[in-house]
Symmetry: C2
Subunit: 422 residues, 2 copies
């Protein structure tokens, strides 16, 4: 008997018919003797519908007072889902009980619409499991120390599921999604893209953060931090397929380097066209400039991705970074109005027609020349590289967005990703 | 400066446009210097939509496990409403904050789908009011001592509003509805029906319990128990009508008998065609029969309204009562299968084509012959009376439902209700 966490996305919960199928799948696992915790998302379209109503009432959603109410409203989508799924499970003859985040409780900080989980009290859930119940917990949400409802941001249900699995030391967390696993890159761009049977936690982290969008990045961080065996698998298989077959489908995120894993140097090609780059040019090169520029950006709750500062000339340097494209105009305004004069920089420029393409692979650690091979490949395709950042297991370039597909296809081929590794 | 509670029904909250109008009306009161607490219902249609989804998954909703989930689901309708209204108030330039029942908290018992309020902790709300905020609280729901969400049953938002007003010793509770006050009877049946400027708490209690449906009965009980000045008024007046005019519109429920009130003997005619009558015939007349019959009925959570037991003949008596029409078949089954043989009664009969018509008036206390006048009036119309019950301030008869309109019209005229009292 194992303790298993299932997570189902909005598409799987999209109608009562689909919810019934989720219940049948969960029932199959429960009847096989497993203790089951299920974390469903809101029914597809529901979160957008709710936030749409809010937007009609207040196009301006920046204040903390409004953000608090948005969480109050948006969190109801998952609350409806857990109630419906619990009823469907009971109709299957199981005992089931649902909990909203505040009931577990799943404690978070108070950052409305993008809260972070701080702790999960599993006493109530554990007692229910011991009593033979399936426990259904809302994804996407928690409660702060003053009893306010918070949400974790888009895709937060993945994080909820993995965090619950971590808190309960679950044997495995199964994330049912509309893809059947993690691929070497997006098959819509490279038809030869191949599903990975396993992917290391570090690779998955890079793939997710670089825009592969299979899992929310924070869920992968949780999985890594607490070593939660997490599997991404398809929600489109029939609910009654053989359990043993289902249990080994999809892609398993692994943590042990000595585990038998595919030993390709590069595991996959990630890309992201949701970013924009911003450069503060002619910055006096003295201590503290990074903080002077990014401090106000962080205060405005704008997430920064790539950051580059190169060597200076004549005591001046250029400082570049990327933000989400939605934050582009706001960030440029902020820098022009608040930062530019104060630090005596020359100008703020930017471009929101860029994309980021990355090669990711734990094997890069021990293989020299991988980045060089990437640059040569792009050069052969005539693609100009605007920015470069590297880490131990990935190399990212920022290029003009119009070259994105070309770059991804060329790199996928250059690193032989369509071939199953030996 | 007064502390005022406003309650808005589902129709008033039916669209973002209407929610904006509610916000403007509340803002008008707040700007006049009042401390404002607002209790909105779910957007019209939302509760039915949610329960409809649940029903698709489980036509059988009797178990406690399912009822708990229904409350989990249904309570989200009001949670969305408070969030949206709070955002609309902020868009009007006010500070506003919303709370779900569990956040206040509004403590209830654990009777899912028909919970009763036990206590309301107003500390958090009071602190917000002192800080100049409008507080928006979900109607219809609370939380039990184990942290489970409960709902108060249909119309429960009225009760929530009055209970909050009672707990906070509000100066007045204004219930905005789709009628502009309490009438001598339903104007759809008697066009001459007249709006009452005031109605005594006891009369209102009888009017509501007898099916006038303006307010949920429990809200009137609360209003009476805690002497909450409660006003029923129209939500269809423009939001910007003069506040002084709005404040004295509708019908005020009064508690002091020496208050200047309309001194008609009969205040109004109530009626109800949602009931069915059941008779257990040939019951051995010995102590405990009422409990033997109604004990199992109460255990099955079936509400009983009128109860009649007349004198016995030959040691046998007939015991009659009425239940909601929806509970009719279930009650008859219960009595036939569990009660009949056990107590040696002859048979169980019933009729669900009945209605109840009542005259209600605090003036009846000191006026003899009021009931006699009612019976004469019905007799002149050729209407046979099946059951009679009386209290100090009302007399009810059960008659064939086909005579309902005729009876109501005849009684309205017989008691001169179309005339403004002197």
């Amino acid at each position: 008997m194992a303790l298993i966490v299932h997570k189902y996305g909005g598409t799987s919960m999209g109608s009562t018919e689909r919810i019934r199928n989720v219940a049948k799948r969960v029932a199959k696992w429960a009847r096989a003797g497993h203790q089951m915790v299920v974390v469903p998302s809101a029914m597809s379209g529901e979160t957008n519908r709710l936030l749409g109503l809010a937007k009609e009432l207040s196009p301006e959603i920046a204040s903390d007072g409004v953000l608090r109410e948005l969480d109050m409203i948006a969190s109801t989508g998952e609350q409806v889902s857990v109630g419906l799924l619990s009823i469907a499970l009971q109709a299957e003859g199981l005992q089931a009980v649902s909990y909203a985040g505040w009931q577990v409780p799943i404690a978070t900080d108070s950052s409305y619409t993008k809260a972070r989980i701080q702790s999960i009290d599993d006493k109530r859930v554990r007692a229910d499991l011991a009593a033979g119940k399936v426990v259904v917990i809302t994804g996407f949400q928690g409660v702060d120390d003053k009893g306010n409802i918070t949400t974790l941001g888009r895709g937060g249900s993945d994080t909820s599921a993995v965090a619950v699995a971590a808190a309960m030391k679950a044997d495995e967390c199964l994330i049912y999604t509309d893809v059947d696993g993690v691929y070497t890159t997006d098959p819509r761009i490279v038809p030869e893209a191949r599903r990975l049977h396993t992917v290391s936690f570090e690779e998955m982290l890079e793939m997710a953060s670089l825009g592969s969008k299979v899992l929310q990045i924070r869920s992968v961080e949780f999985a890594g931090k607490y070593r939660v065996p997490t599997r991404v698998l398809s929600s489109f298989t029939p609910w009654d397929i053989d359990l043993a077959e289902e249990a080994k489908s999809g892609t398993l995120i692994t943590f042990e380097e000595d585990e038998k894993m595919e030993q390709a140097v590069v595991a996959g090609i990630a890309f992201n066209r949701d970013e924009a780059k911003i450069t503060v040019a002619g910055v006096p090169d003295k201590p503290g400039i990074a903080f002077q520029i990014l401090g106000p950006v962080a205060e405005a709750n704008i997430d920064v991705d790539v950051i580059i500062q190169n060597v200076s000339h004549d005591g001046k340097t250029d400082f570049s970074f990327t933000v989400h494209r939605n934050d582009y105009a706001r960030t440029v305004d902020l820098l022009k109005n608040k930062v530019l004069q104060q630090m005596g920089a020359k100008e703020v420029t930017g471009d929101n027609k860029i994309c980021k393409v990355s090669i990711v692979g734990i094997g890069m650690r021990s293989h020299v020349g991988v980045a060089a091979k990437m640059f040569r490949c792009l050069s052969e395709e005539g693609i100009n590289i605007q920015m470069i950042t590297t880490s131990e297991i990935k190399t990212s370039v920022v290029i003009d967005e119009k070259y994105m597909e070309l770059a991804v296809r060329a790199l996928h081929k250059a690193f032989d990703l369509e071939q199953q590794p030996a």
